[in-house]
């Protein structure tokens, strides 16, 4: 039993934290997050120079990490910095290509690691509401290749991605796990239309419509109809990432709120002297430590496969969703009126914490999934 990260991971986290502190302080971040682009290509390249994305992959895929804890140390630091650049999509798309991609597709990973290719995960659809198997987008064969038709929703940085990893149905009904296939789609392919918008927690996302998008045969990732297993594998890493990002953001929200409790005076004393607030803060602290444990449990099991892994992942995302919103709400409350303002960094941590619950399945979704997995016969 050992809860220390390895020397390598500590060094990676240190250099990332230092870079964020020096280059990505709140004003810089706010400027990027509300910019027309919704992210900074320059900043993205500088993050990539640090080798961050290489931590997501093992050596066979061209990286230097790939373990659940490699993912978690990076995302915890990104959470501390409220980084809006699309690391989550790099992780999910890259892991899918590493797991199931052909040689050409695996070649994309190197360009993702050096920052020259930006990838987006285009899986959710309007109306799918976290249901992982719900894929209405269709892919049909035409000659040697494929034609895609459908719509994808809330694709992170969809306007700026060079390639999209699109889930599309090659057989079965809209809710079937079987029959889902994955495709690599260049964003500039004919028939791809992208409509972007701002996100409440900074950065941008997009609705993507696919209208007779013609693809070569080798655009298919892995085996036709077997995409669901790949999705389960890679979304697992995405859940570890979001849980760890949330822990990083919670730690900062706690630090800011504590600082406020110590310095803000009312009735002639720091408000942290009031027991009503002390107890709220103590509850927040206990909750955050439980969330940290949940994230550790998830990172420790994500490299496995089966029901225990999926339950640990859903337990973590449920915990993070519930606790993240609580930390956000309590932090705003304890700040009082100033907590309602855009100028206060804390407010942006609160927004990010709540919005993490809206990615890859919320608290209710994962609680239900956890229960369902508990009923499944033991394999």
């Amino acid at each position: 039993m050992n809860f220390q990260h390895t020397e390598d991971r500590r060094m990676l986290a240190d250099s990332l934290n230092r870079f964020i502190a020096e280059q990505y302080a709140f004003d810089a971040r706010d400027g990027i997050a509300r910019s027309a682009q919704g992210y900074s290509r320059d900043m993205w390249l500088r993050f990539c120079e640090l080798g961050i994305i290489g931590a997501f992959f093992d050596e066979a895929a061209g990286g230097f990490g790939g373990d659940g804890f490699d993912v978690s140390v990076v995302f915890e630091a990104l959470g501390r910095g409220l980084v809006v650049e699309p690391f989550l999509d790099a992780l999910i798309v890259g892991r899918a290509l590493a797991l199931a991609g052909n040689d050409t597709q695996r070649g994309i990973i190197a360009k993702m690691i050096d920052g020259s290719t930006l990838a987006a995960f285009a899986h959710d659809e309007p109306g799918s509401h976290y249901e992982r198997a719900r894929v209405g987008t269709r892919a049909t064969r035409r000659g040697d290749g494929w034609v895609l038709n459908g719509a994808k929703g809330v694709v992170q940085q969809g306007e700026h991605a060079d390639v999209l990893l699109v889930s599309a149905r090659t057989s079965g009904g809209d809710h079937d796990e079987a029959g889902i296939s994955l495709f690599v789609v260049p964003r500039d392919a004919g028939g791809v239309d992208v409509r972007g918008y701002r996100k409440i927690d900074g950065g941008r996302a997009a609705e993507v419509s696919l209208d007779d998008v013609a693809l070569e045969a080798d655009a298919l990732v892995g085996i036709e109809g077997d995409g669901y297993a790949v999705l389960t594998h890679v979304i697992g890493y995405g859940l570890v990432a979001l849980a760890s990002e949330a822990v990083g953001a919670m730690d900062v929200a706690k630090e800011h709120t504590l600082e406020y409790l110590r310095t803000r005076k009312q009735f002639g004393v720091p408000i942290g002297a009031f027991q009503a607030l002390q107890h709220r803060m103590a509850d927040v602290l206990v909750d955050i430590e439980q969330a940290r444990s949940a994230a550790i449990n998830a990172a420790a099991t994500v490299g496995e496969s089966g029901v225990a892994r999926e339950r640990a992942l859903s337990a973590a995302k449920y915990s993070i969703g519930r606790i993240g919103a609580r930390v956000a709400e309590e932090s705003i409350q304890m700040h009082g009126g100033i907590g309602m303002t855009w100028e206060l960094p804390l407010a942006h941590y609160a927004k990010r914490l709540v919005m993490i619950d809206h990615q890859l399945g919320d608290e209710d979704h994962h609680l239900a999934r956890y229960i369902e997995l508990g009923r499944a016969p033991v394999a």
Partner: protein, 392 residues
């Protein structure tokens, strides 16, 4: 980062499990599992079995008869005991007084009292709380005044203790008493060992809301206590009292108890029906069950993290407050769900000893309200967190 126990720790766990299989009497384990009353003899029997194995005083240093376990080993032992249905070792002598005597007692006191704790010659109870001193423990008013008679110096003790667990079985009580009225209230307290058979000591039962007799009031009227029974220095008792309260609290979350109780709850919920389906298939019940199960899974890791920090040389200060708060909330939620699972039959109140889960569920639920009150109420624990961990 590695959440697994080492091979040596797993081997230790196997030893513990083997010991429990061969040495924990079935009848006692059954009683614990079904929430039935344990007799004095049940408790004394388990105490004796552990002592014979050399595992009773597992928090004590080796030279005083401890097994020399690491914090992780103690954690594994306590958890496996709880899961197997072993009774909780009555903690007052072994876990509370023992460490205080080892740290602050005289050589004579150690030689005399420690072996008697181990072999069960003395049954200790704890004289801390008073009617006016609960969470505000430093407000104790029971007095101990020095007096002389026939050239022999003694303390004359007057006052009242309350919530004294199992005082009706005990022959000895360790007490916080006021020996000085002058100083700050923490500075006039002394730590005194009192023979319950001394004239002037009276024990009266307090019946708790579940009908149980677990706790008592203890009255002291002109009780003569030899000065040799003072532990450490006069008026320094508060230091010893605090040491006792923070000693070895890394298992305060009671994870093993919760694991055992959750197992029983899940078994009952999959058997009991509502609306033509098992309770585990009722969406609202299943959601509450899943929530507490996840909380417990998280708590296991939180507890191990605190343990690892302690093993690495850190002190389990306010972290134990964190474990206490959430650990007791989890235990209370599990017993609340057990009560709900019994439906209308939870209303039964069967005063005689019963192994019917429906008739014990509500009583246990009410009994478990104590968890967030005793050992420093959860509100006190939050005060400690605010002060020690948050710097407020």
């Amino acid at each position: 980062m590695d959440l697994k126990f080492t091979a040596a720790e797993e081997a230790f766990r196997a030893d513990v499990l083997k010991f429990l299989r061969t040495s924990l009497p079935d009848e006692i384990a059954q009683k614990v599992h079904t929430g039935r009353r344990l007799t004095r003899d049940d408790m004394a029997q388990w105490h004796g079995i552990l002592n014979a194995q050399g595992w009773l005083a597992n928090h004590w240093p080796k030279e005083y008869g401890g097994p020399g376990w690491t914090a992780v080993q103690k954690f594994i032992f306590e958890n496996e005991c709880a899961i197997a249905g072993a009774p909780r070792v009555v903690p007052f002598g072994v876990n509370m007084l023992g460490p205080v005597l080892i740290k602050y007692g005289s050589e004579a006191q150690k030689r005399h009292w420690l072996p008697r704790i181990l072999d069960g010659s003395d049954w200790w109870c704890q004289g801390y709380s008073e009617p006016g001193a609960g969470s505000d423990l430093a407000s104790v008013r029971t007095t101990a005044a020095r007096a002389m008679e026939n050239g022999e110096e003694y303390y004359r003790v007057n006052g009242q203790k309350t919530w004294t667990t199992l005082a009706h079985y005990a022959n000895m009580i360790f007490c916080l008493v006021r020996t000085s009225q002058d100083a700050r209230k923490q500075e006039g307290i002394s730590f005194l060992l009192i023979d319950m058979n001394t004239p002037g000591v009276e024990v009266r039962p307090i019946i708790t809301l579940d009908g149980e007799h677990e706790v008592n009031e203890v009255f002291f009227t002109d009780v003569r206590v030899p000065v040799a029974n003072l532990v450490g220095e006069e008026n320094k008792g508060w230091t010893y009292a605090k040491y006792l309260l923070t000693y070895e609290r890394t298992n305060i979350a009671g994870v093993g108890f919760s694991v055992a109780a959750l197992g029983r709850l899940k078994e009952a919920a999959s058997r009991l029906q509502s609306n033509g389906r098992a309770l585990t298939d009722d969406p609202l019940f299943a959601a509450r069950l899943a929530r507490v199960e996840i909380d417990l899974e998280n708590m296991k890791t939180t507890n191990l993290r605190v343990l690892a920090a302690v093993a690495g040389g850190g002190a389990p200060g306010a972290e134990s407050s964190m474990l206490k708060i959430r650990g007791t909330e989890i235990r209370q939620e599990i017993s609340s769900l057990m009560r709900r699972a019994m439906g209308p039959y939870a209303q039964q109140f069967i005063e005689e000893d019963s192994d019917d889960e429906a008739s014990t569920a509500a009583a246990q639920y009410f009994n478990n309200r104590k968890l967030s009150i005793f050992g420093g109420s959860n509100e006190i624990q939050k005060n400690i967190i605010a002060k020690m961990m948050l710097g407020l």
